[in-house]
């Protein structure tokens, strides 16, 4: 038997032990997410004052900015799990990366749509080729590439590894792409017609965004763990791991 003092980290690297652990975490994250998102909405819609320049329209940032943060953050986490998968050849790591992608893509989509909805009344156009929005669009393309590659490869093993390499290559490229888009943007537009210029932040606005962000984070954890559990079951339905559950 294992000594109590030896923490076996790799114990949770096996899908079989991970499955119930994930099952315990999910409800807590779900509840936490609901509470924090509700609180964040309260701050954003009721407590935060009217902005001097943008009126009530600025309130979109309470969903736009957290989604944009998470679209990026989740991609990096996905690349992290991809690299862990490649280094340790751990199936669970690959499964985590695969599970993160849809949620990351969803937030990217939301960031783009809310960015448009923010841009139209503020800058008069449904789409502005500023550095942030354009980079967000390219990030969506990177997610689409990841899905497409996985869908095109029948062998699960190869699909896991190939998409892991792709995720890593994408992650390494993200700063380069962002820098090039920023450079391109400053070249072609003298003054920054930029949606990244947030209104002068009252502390309460920042607080609202942070609360929403943490709420989104807990939501992401819950959804991603649910997805991994489904993946574990689907992959294992041949091995009959949970024959009688």
């Amino acid at each position: 038997m294992e000594k109590k003092l030896d923490i076996n980290w790799f114990k949770y690297a096996s899908p079989k032990t991970f499955y119930p652990l994930a099952g315990k975490i999910i409800p807590w994250c779900a509840i936490g997410a609901a509470i924090l998102i509700a609180y964040g909405l309260y701050i954003g819609l009721f407590v935060a004052p009217t902005d001097f320049q943008q009126g009530e329209g600025y309130r979109i940032i309470f969903v736009h900015v957290p989604s944009a943060w998470f679209s990026m953050f989740l991609y990096l986490i996905m690349a992290f799990y991809a690299s862990m998968g490649l280094v340790f050849n751990a199936k669970l790591s690959y499964m985590m990366a695969t599970a993160i992608a849809p949620t990351g893509a969803m937030f990217t989509f939301v960031a783009l749509v809310t960015g448009s909805l923010w841009g139209k009344p503020m800058w008069g156009a449904w789409w502005v080729w500023d550095a942030r929005l354009t980079s967000e669009l390219i990030l969506l393309f990177l997610y689409i590439g990841y899905f497409s590659l996985q869908a095109a490869i029948d062998d699960k093993n190869r699909a896991d590894k190939a998409s892991a390499v792709l995720a890593l290559v994408g992650a390494i490229n993200v700063p380069i792409i962002y820098f090039s888009v920023k450079w391109w943007n400053t070249l072609h537009q003298g003054s920054s017609v930029s949606l990244t210029k947030a209104p002068a932040m009252a502390a309460v606005m920042l607080e609202g965004m942070l609360v929403m962000a943490i709420g989104f984070w807990l939501y992401s954890i819950a959804i991603i763990l649910m997805r991994v559990r489904c993946d574990i079951l689907e992959r294992d339905s041949k091995l009959q791991m949970f024959k009688k559950d």
């Binding site: 009217t50 009126g55 009530e56 969903v63 989604s67 969803m106 909805l117 923010w118 079951l233």
Partner: protein, 50 residues
Amino acid sequence: MHWNNISEFLAMGGYGFYVWGSFAVTFLSMAIELWLINQRRKSVTRTLEQ
């Protein structure tokens, strides 16, 4: 709380469509994602119970 009444709240100073549109897209997307993963979970557990 600085809304005088409900209609002011909904109008959002003229930006109602954009603000509510954004919140709607955000939460609708999250709800759809949740619904989809639930569907997947149900179909997997159904297959396994056979």
